[in-house]
Symmetry: C2
Subunit: 286 residues, 2 copies
């Protein structure tokens, strides 16, 4: 596995990869890699095959954190991440510093103004512009044929798909199913920040989503009723503040009134559990 | 010469060009091509050599025109443009429709917040975000190794360079000297919209810039005095309203106080001449 902290060597590496016949498959991450990332990387490896390449980036992007968010305490276990990437057959690990990515007088951003206003965007101002900008930069540097994102960050996947569509980026975006603990908790690098008490009750987030799915499968079509139930199921989890609980169209993220056989609905939730903010989501079909 | 109105064929063409050893050199235009564009295209041809390719785009980008600007009356002499491109040895002419470039619910933009606020940006709100967005899109579609822009739009070149730097785009930006009529008027597609009376006095814009340069060469170092003189020289041109006349650092576009031997100063002007807005600029060295 090749590793690079600078852009120059990645550009050179990419030039050489142009001659090969397999695709360059890219998994952007903020590090603190867990089995969810490993699952993304294994999918990338399968897609790349022997002739293609798998690139992973590790970059805790400061511009997607708000001033009161957890940038400083975001976990950065680099040695473990490196070992995981080696084990999973990554070809190139790109791990730039913030200084390598951002100039002091940087003044250009990629801005999304529709999908990113609600849900996580409502409380995390500027977050998705930070995400779009850094992903656009990484796409310029790595020029992947395919990029894979985890579905736990469902809104992020929708925003990235929109960016790729609108800016005509020559990359195929794939999303990958959320990997969960045995008790249902969605894997997240932030889970390791949970107190033991919070970790114990955290699976109830997924249980609340499953309850909504079961109600929909049992015939409930009113989104207002489903959402009320979902919100109250989350609110009763100890030490929890519900940021949002919404049921929206899975692509446009626009609110739905009713579940219909044709609707591709998704329930998305964010809660503050102790000092840690967790998100999760589930497809709610009839 | 290959022509394409759709993105799909350009993507396929570009894939094939990957195998060749020469660079892909790109000249983005809004059409209504004149000798200034021809000069850019000839430079592109020289840079590409026999093994590389020259791509020209013709796209009158609606998102860089303000609601009260001249989008509808912007000249579109496509047959002549096509002939010029053929004559100059262009390999691929890309001429998309607005519908091919923009989705109805498009929501992603590239935004520049420093270099684009003054000069033309002050009166043309959103103009440079429109420029950045469409140039970013064209770069994604065409993936040029080199792109060439005319220096008449000096602020545009500075903003594009900043975008490429900040978003880490793998393209080299070259600027190309302004081509002028014999009487000094900078070539512009908008010149053909001038009334005969306006055309007659239009060269006085360049003369005002030359006067500023000569004053600087004669030892004037006060930017305030140079600028006052430049403004009054422009203001006395018949039927003219001065939009701005500034002397700034050529890269940062920030105001200067004094010309020094080390300063890379540039005078930039915009005037409304009858119903036509014209811009020009000149390096003001000591």
């Amino acid at each position: 596995m090749k590793t690079a902290a600078r852009i120059g060597p990645v550009t050179l590496w990419r030039k050489k990869a142009e001659g090969t016949s397999g695709p360059v498959v890219f998994v952007p991450t903020m590090g603190a890699l867990h089995e969810g990332h490993a699952s993304l990387i294994r999918r990338a490896r399968r897609l790349a095959g022997r002739k293609g390449s798998v690139v992973v980036s590790i970059f805790v992007n400061p511009t997607q954190f708000g001033p009161k968010e957890d940038l400083a305490k975001y976990p950065r276990p680099f040695a473990q991440d490196l070992a995981l990437c080696k084990r999973e057959g990554v070809d190139l690990l790109f791990h730039p510093t913030p200084e390598e990515m951002y100039e002091g007088d940087s003044s250009v951003k990629v801005c999304e103004s529709s999908l990113s206003t609600g849900l996580c965007g409502a409380s995390r101002l500027g977050h998705f512009n930070g995400v779009c900008t850094v992903v656009a930069m990484l796409f310029q540097i790595i020029r992947p044929d395919i990029a894979i994102f985890g579905e736990k960050d469902w809104q992020q996947v929708a925003v990235i798909r929109r960016m790729v569509r609108d800016l005509k980026m020559p990359v195929k975006i794939l999303s990958h199913a959320t990997v969960r603990e045995e008790d249902g908790l969605a894997l997240s690098s932030r889970n390791r920040l949970l107190s033991p008490e919070s970790r114990l009750v955290a699976p109830r987030i997924y249980q609340a989503l499953l309850t909504a799915l079961m109600a929909a499968e049992a015939g409930e079509t009113s989104v207002a009723r489903l959402r009320r139930r979902l919100t109250s199921d989350l609110a009763v989890i100890p030490r929890t503040v519900v940021d949002y609980a919404e049921i929206v169209d899975e692509s446009t993220l626009l609110p739905l009134q009713k579940l219909t056989p044709g609707s591709a609905a998704r329930a998305l939730v964010a809660v503050q559990l102790g000092s840690v903010r967790l998100i999760d989501n589930l497809g709610i079909s009839r």
